[in-house]
């Protein structure tokens, strides 16, 4: 395997290449890195590494372990922002390979941390190294998919980002299966599970590395011609990443994504206790776990559904639906809890979580509409810092406001009402930013001479 195998030039597709080979290549990466959402499966077993059946003195506690996921998400956003331009330059194959090395390697380094019982090695392994793999892997296929599907960019990126949501569905039962398999009288099987998952994920991501291709610069889908009169808010120009993040449009989109994610992520993390506390005595812990599974499923389906829909109704209109429908549903939740309608409550959150996923999946196509295809992956990478901020803001809002309410004598069943109205306020901010969206000023357009591998196309 020569070094040129990984170069962008080696991945240019020949004539007759079927572009539907590219979405599964992207899915192979996203289905793996989506494991991050299921990391909590390891939390309890990691608190019993010494005691095996129960925590013993010297075992780690949940607060310490919670930092592993937080560091990983922080490095996801940072790596996507920092390495975005590099990903655009070297192409999807090399960046997917680096992502596979980082993500698979993160598990193996963490396994060493488990063996030596040194938590800082896990922070470094899964958190820093794995987090970089998450960030690079997340943005690797985005601009490639947009270039392969100029006629359906929302559907194409929605398919890949759906994989990130679906990755947790595979990882959670797989982790439990492996830990059960490797469990012995002297080990709870976490070490062996980390090693196995590191190897499996590396190999599975290599499917994407081997099968991904980029289109030739002059390639277009058969029978498709770019519309002579582009739609409103769909540019035919290109904006480089360094210029893009100086535009008001970038920051409006940053707030749009941040508000949409904040509103969903806090609820996702608190869904199980929330439904049990809002319907005391009517929803068992097992049923609450079912609720979490159901809204996660809608989170995944929403990624494909809403991103595909945005190809027809436009990106701005899609986010208008997210914000207006989101405000209506969040505002209705306290009433649904008050009247005791579990079915309507569950239905409302299924729609809300579908729009949370839809927000993630529609943003790359929105960026392409505003800034063109040149360096759209790098711009997407920088925008993902909004996710890191929302990842802190959402859970803090839901958890702390709930606790504050309970501490001040509000019954648990009503402790979420204020939070829901705050979510409505956040969505209103997102709505106003989306409403203010206008085309990018021509002074930001990319006009430098083209260089190989960095062509505006």
């Amino acid at each position: 395997m020569s070094s040129t195998f990984f170069d962008r030039e080696s991945t240019i597709a020949g004539p007759g290449f079927n572009r539907f080979m590219v979405p599964p290549a992207a899915l192979a990466v996203h289905l793996c890195i989506g494991q991050a959402y299921a990391f909590s499966t390891f939390n309890l077993p990691l608190t019993k590494l010494i005691g095996i059946t129960k925590s013993a003195p010297g075992d780690w506690n949940l607060t310490e372990l919670g930092w592993i996921f937080s560091i990983a998400i922080l490095f996801l956003g940072s790596a996507a922002a920092v390495f975005g331009r590099w990903v655009e330059r070297v192409g999807p194959r090399k960046s997917m390979f680096v992502a596979a090395l980082c993500f698979g390697g993160g598990f193996l380094v963490s396994a060493v941390g488990i063996h030596l019982h040194q938590l800082w090695i896990i922070y470094l392994g899964y958190g820093v190294l794995g987090g970089c793999g998450l960030g690079i892997g997340y943005i690797s296929p985005v601009s490639t998919l947009i270039k392969w599907f100029p006629d359906r960019p929302g559907m194409a990126t929605g398919m890949a980002i759906m994989g990130f949501g679906g990755g947790a569905f595979i990882a959670a039962p797989l982790s439990v299966l492996l830990m059960t398999h490797f469990k012995t009288a002297t080990s709870n099987g976490v070490l062996e599970t980390f090693v196995t998952m590191g190897v499996i994920y590396f190999m599975f991501m290599m499917i994407g590395v081997f099968s991904v291709r980029v289109p030739a610069d002059d390639w277009k889908p058969a029978g498709w011609t770019a519309p002579a009169q582009p739609k409103k808010l769909v540019t035919t120009a290109n904006v480089a990443v360094e210029a893009a993040w100086r535009t008001p449009q970038f920051w409006l989109l940053w707030v749009v994504l941040c508000m949409n994610v904040t509103a969903g992520i806090g609820v996702l993390g608190q869904a199980s206790p929330m439904i049990q506390e809002m319907f005391p005595g009517r929803v068992s812990p097992a049923a609450a776990a079912g609720f979490v599974g159901l809204i996660s499923l809608f989170n995944m389906i929403g990624r494909f559904f809403w991103a595909s829909t945005s190809d027809y109704i436009g990106r701005r209109n899609t986010y208008m639906v997210f914000f207006l429908l989101g405000i209506a549903l969040y505002a209705a939740v306290p009433t649904l809890g008050h009247i005791g309608s579990t079915a309507l409550f569950v239905a409302a959150f299924c729609v809300i979580l579908s729009m949370y996923g839809g927000g993630f999946a529609t943003i790359p196509a929105y960026l392409r509409d505003m800034f063109g295809t040149y360096q759209v992956g790098a711009i997407h990478g920088r925008l993902l810092t909004a996710w890191s901020v929302a990842g802190v803001l959402g859970p803090v809002l839901v958890n702390y406001i709930r606790q504050y309410q309970i501490d001040n004598g509000v019954p648990k069943a009503q402790a979420y009402s204020i939070t829901m109205y705050i979510m409505c306020g956040l969505l209103l901010v997102g709505f106003l930013c989306n409403f203010a969206m206008r085309a990018v000023d021509a002074k930001y357009y990319y006009q430098a001479p083209m260089t190989p591998g960095r062509h505006p196309s």
Partner: protein, 32 residues
């Protein structure tokens, strides 16, 4: 090319379908 396409989609489709099935199994507890 068609065979490679089918193999690729099956490779990503099977684990995803398994994960969705397991999640649906879990979600059914909500309706019991």
């Amino acid at each position: 090319m068609k065979l490679r396409l089918a193999v690729l989609w099956i490779a990503v489709g099977i684990p995803l379908a398994w994960g969705v099935f397991k999640t649906l199994q879990n979600a059914m507890k909500l309706f019991q």
